[in-house]
Amino acid sequence: MTNGTNAGRDASDAHGVGDGAGGSPGDPIASTEASAPAAAAPAKVPNARKATGASPGAPAAAARGIRRGPGRGGWTPWLYLAPALVVLGGLLVYPIYQLGLISFLEYTQAQVSGGEPTTFQGLGNYRTLFADSQFWQVLLATLVFAAACVVTTLAVGCGLAVLLTRVRALPRLALMLAALGAWATPAITGSTVWVFLFDPDYGPVNRLLGLGDFSWTYGRYSAFALVLLEVVWCSFPFVMVTVYAGIKAIPSEVLEAASLDGASQWRIWRSVTAPMLRPILVVVTIQSIIWDFKVFTQIYVMTNGGGIAGQNLVLNVYAYQKAFASSQYSLGSAIGVVMLLILLAVTLVYLRLLRRQGEEL
């Protein structure tokens, strides 16, 4: 969830936090529906209304309302859903459509101000983008940086979750509170504080490590490393708390039975704990991937807009700079579409994993 995070870490942003995968009675995910694009939502609504509203018995049953199990309810569920669908349709689905549209147009300052007509470019913007070596460099940097963040966050988060189960209440409380503090810190203040900690002149870290006036934000890799530290700092708490909750949720009788049967610690971990934790690990991994792939504020603030000569750009910041700094809105949109597609692919993998686990919606 947020480091969502974030607390997000922009729970969302912030710290976008994990989606709940709480299972209970419901329809199993149909494979065709799993791949349905989000844009199909509004188109389906009117049909659905017709479908549910048309059956003559439904409204009467809804009025009576007494039935076992969730009722069909006629129009009622759509009434309840209406505000959500209006908001999501207008501010999520429509902008996605617009994003795709702009990426096929010529759209720069001239078109925005209405000075020149917009022209359809077909795949022209994508051709420009893919011919630009900087794009590939930024894409690679984004993938490597996100992967490094995810792996480090998961390792730290899971390691500390296990540590939490091995200590008494007081150290556990101390670590939990510290982690909640890091989690609650807004991305922008976290970024400023970490830059200050590593400041070549006034930061304590260089003094402590005897680095003199070494500037962390000057070099490409040291700057990425610094951002990585901040990202891990604010996103490991979500992993730690979630995995810890997962470990505690394993019934102690199961572990007890295993140890009575003479299983070694390692065997218990491998055959009991790990399989029971897998759903949670999937959630935190996917959530971390999505969150770390979208890092914006940290890079923007800590490397001052993408580093010297754009050496620390990631896709997000790159798209922003293209669109808002150099007014190439169509190129920025094309980058946005690339990001959207990558995250959609991650989402589909996630849905497959959920299905394989027999998770029901």
Partner: protein, 294 residues
Amino acid sequence: MSATAATPGRRAVSLPRIHRIHRPWRLAAEASALVIAVVVAFPLYWMVLSAFKPEGEIQSTEAHPWTLSPSLDSFRRVFEQQEFGRYFLNSLFVAGVVVIASALIAFLAATAVTRFRFTYRTTLLIMFLVAQMVPIEALTIPLFFLMRDFGQLNTLGSLILPHIAFSLPFAIWMLRGFVKAVPEALEEAAYIDGASRTRFLWQILFPLVFPGLVATSVFSFISTWNDFLFAKSFIISDTSQSTLPMALLVFFKPDENDWGGIMAASTVMTVPVLVFFVLVQRRLVSGLGGAVKD
């Protein structure tokens, strides 16, 4: 389901028997837990400390982890800066509206998808799941034009509306578990007693789901409070509509950053979230446990 979810420190009694570790190892584990806690908390400590340090100590190359003469100068500079208090209220207003609106809308939607069976229910759920993954940053460009076309640029509405939309999918997913946990027998009993659907929804279901709403709100609050990108992109000229992150950037200067000011502004921005977090901490952890369990 969510009510029984693990809360730190609650079920510790039964575990030591399984995870029996020898005393020196346990002490080593506890010592490292404490050290890590200190390391994790250190940036926050340094932020607050630097906010209270007098100018001279911040500018000193000898960075001491304490100060003997705390001063409020940095805070004074922050609040004297053009309309910082206003930015704070703007941030609070935006986050407040988003939290309340998205909680109410998500509550209705979560009720619809958990307590009714209708065509396209599963499709909708999948769509909410997919919507969570949409990178909001990528939508900045079309949203910018949308806000421009509706004359919403430079207004707080341009920050509120997108954040409601982005908080909703996760909120609906998370609330589902809480709504589902309310027994159906209760619903039947209410109807038998003559309650209308609306009455059941607001007078019975809503209070029962309220703890879940609190947990959900944490996330919408934080993502909105943290927002930097939209504030930077949509509030282009009217600074009176700005929010806290923008106020913070004022202290970054090309030649010499005002670190005291930055740390004081950061402290002012972080403390409300911390307070909120600590207040709902228990709910949050059990909410998470409930959401990801089984």
